[in-house]
Amino acid sequence: MVVTALASIVAIVLIVLVVYEIVNSAEPAISKYGLGFLGHQTWNNYTVFGAATLIYGTVATAAGALLIAAPLGIAIGLYLSLFSDRRTAAIIGPLVETLAAVPSVIIGLWGLIVLGPFLRSTIEPALHDVLGFIPLFGTPSATGSGVFTAMIVLAIMALPIIAAITRDLFLTVPAELKDGALALGATHWEMVRGVVLSSMRPGIASACILGVSRALGEAIAALQVIGSVFQISSNLFGNGNTLGATIAIQAQADNSHLQTASVFYLAVILLGIELLVNLAAQAIVRHYRLPSVTGPTATAAASGRT
């Protein structure tokens, strides 16, 4: 009993330690720059450090990823829980979850060498030709790396999370409600829209939040495909940078104490964003008394589905 209680306290201590250690290590940069760090755009690796370009890159790529992954993921959740028969769901469900198991460095490698060049030679010019009057769709990138590629790569990583969580949510909708709607003459889709989607709105929101949390925090795959340029560009096809990618590549550079402290400051920002986002998801889950949700692997084991 005591041993198990002590072990449980370790979990709480760990979270506190993580926050304390990262904030503490960032202290020199926090006291030098204060909150101005968040709005400052220059990062020159030696003397001047600011996070604005990275915050922009992180939020922009995650937002783009969400825009792509949310509708697709919810649709997959609907397909697996309501539209497919049991046997096809038993094949496609695990395949979607396998996508979540692919290590980020491999998705990044694929994004860098296969997806990026493909986007550059086909999708980006097409979007530029048709929608070029919008500044977002500017000149296609030179190498295939860039914000747009990062969005797609991060969307691929968020997709299975959103799909698996929404699937498990939709499975919890009581059969009486669904049958009732169908008995009233609603088509399948009307039943889904009127009963399933409307009653599960908070759960869908928290699924999307957990998906975007993955996209916000991904360091390696983003680093591989985003081009690592400290700039805020309206052109999606241009290079950018994210908090996670910069932490990953600059933590050990150690050109100066201030640089290391600034990297830790970036980690403080990322940690803050992630804690906020995850607390929001948990708050929604608790407030609406939804079945607890985490990620594809855990939920798969939880529901005992195969």
């Binding site: 009993m1 198990t4 209680a5 072990a7 370790v10 979990a11 709480i12 760990l14 979270i15 330690l17 993580v18 250690e21 990262i22 697709l72 993921g73 649709a75 397909y79 697996l80 497919s84 496609i92 979607v96 996508l99 198991a101 692919v102 290590p103 980020s104 460095v105 491999i106 490698l109 694929w110 860098l112 060498i113 799909a163 088509t187 889709w189 916000l216 925090g217 360091a219 390696i220 591989q224 932490i247 990953a248 990297v263 980690a267 990322l270 940690l271 992630e274 804690l275 986002v277 995850n278 607390l279 948990q282 985490t294 692997t297 855990a298 798969a300 084991a301 939880a302 005992g304 195969t306």
Partner: protein, 298 residues
């Protein structure tokens, strides 16, 4: 009231027809979305298999990196060993701790004590691996140097919430009657847990552990910060003394350094890692099917 035309065939028309078209359209797009996800996975696996298969040979699996980064030949033997060692050590730390936490949550905790612990686990689960990596970097590595052990610690923190959660779910599935029967025989709570509850949930615990291992084996961010400075031509077992070569960093480094030879090797290493992760995931799934079958049979 309009007269009813009894001769009219019973087919949808007008509004109902429009509703059915929308219904079919929506169901079709949901199916298409699922196919998109499967297609992405297929394209990715195909690319890795196609580009990596040519690299994999006996030498690739049994030799270390050549002296010069850009020269051909050599393999990733030391990286495979390093990853295995670090993941094993991480499992040795995270598994007992995770099981203990799960036991506390399901067997002992009250609603009031369970809630902060569950929240802490959920938050740990939500922390990006780069944040955990830089935490260990700042706490242990900065100023003193990398070791395989520190990387293992980061992996253990990543594995802990996964193992605790899956174990908790497995423990919750153990029928209450089993515990009651044990209590009725006068067996203490702790011995019931160790002797009855945990063995009954072993399948679920193993499933969670294997899933966590699959996740840890592919984690790259901790390796980049905590196990990236080493002599790649040598095999090292000194996990507490120096950083160990490992597959994820090998892939990252080879891909970033560019050059045809290196990128080809990166695909080879990626294929090895994907095979390891897929075998672990499939193994976990098989275990899970087996254990749920055994649980429901009882």
């Amino acid at each position: 009231m309009a007269p009813v035309d009894y001769a009219r065939p019973l087919t949808a028309s007008g509004n109902l027809r429009r509703r059915r078209v929308i219904d079919r359209l929506m169901r079709g797009s949901a199916t298409a979305a699922a196919l998109v996800a499967v297609a992405i996975l297929g394209l990715m696996v195909f690319a890795i298999a196609q580009r990596g298969a040519g690299e994999i040979s006996f030498a690739f699996l049994t030799q270390n990196s050549p002296e010069q980064l850009y020269s051909a030949g050599g393999g990733i033997a030391n990286a495979i060993i390093g990853t295995a060692l670090m993941v094993a050590l991480a499992t040795a730390v995270a598994l007992p701790l995770g099981v203990l936490i799960a036991v506390y949550l399901t067997e002992y905790a009250t609603a009031r004590t369970a809630s902060p612990i569950r929240l802490a686990l959920d938050l740990l689960y939500g922390l990006p691996s780069i944040v955990i990596a830089i935490f260990i970097y700042g706490a242990l590595v900065y100023g003193s140097g990398q070791t395989g052990f520190y990387a293992s610690l980061a992996l253990a923190i990543i594995m802990l919430p996964l193992i605790a959660r899956t174990t908790g779910e497995a423990l919750a599935l153990v029928p209450k009657e089993l515990r009651d029967a044990s209590h009725a025989l006068g067996i203490s709570r702790w011995r019931t847990t160790v002797g009855i509850t945990i063995p009954s949930a072993l399948g679920g615990i193993l499933t969670g552990t294997v899933l966590a291992i699959a996740r840890a084996a592919g984690e790259t961010a901790p390796m980049l910060l905590l196990a990236s400075v080493f002599d790649n031509t040598k095999t090292s077992f000194d996990i507490f003394g120096q950083a160990l070569p490992n597959i994820p960093y090998e892939i990252f480094n080879l891909a970033e350094s560019g050059g045809t030879v290196n990128v080809a090797k990166a695909w080879g290493a990626a294929l090895v890692l994907v095979i390891i992760v897929l075998i672990a995931s499939l193994g976990a799934r098989a275990l899970q099917i087996r254990s749920t079958r055994m649980m429901t049979r009882r």
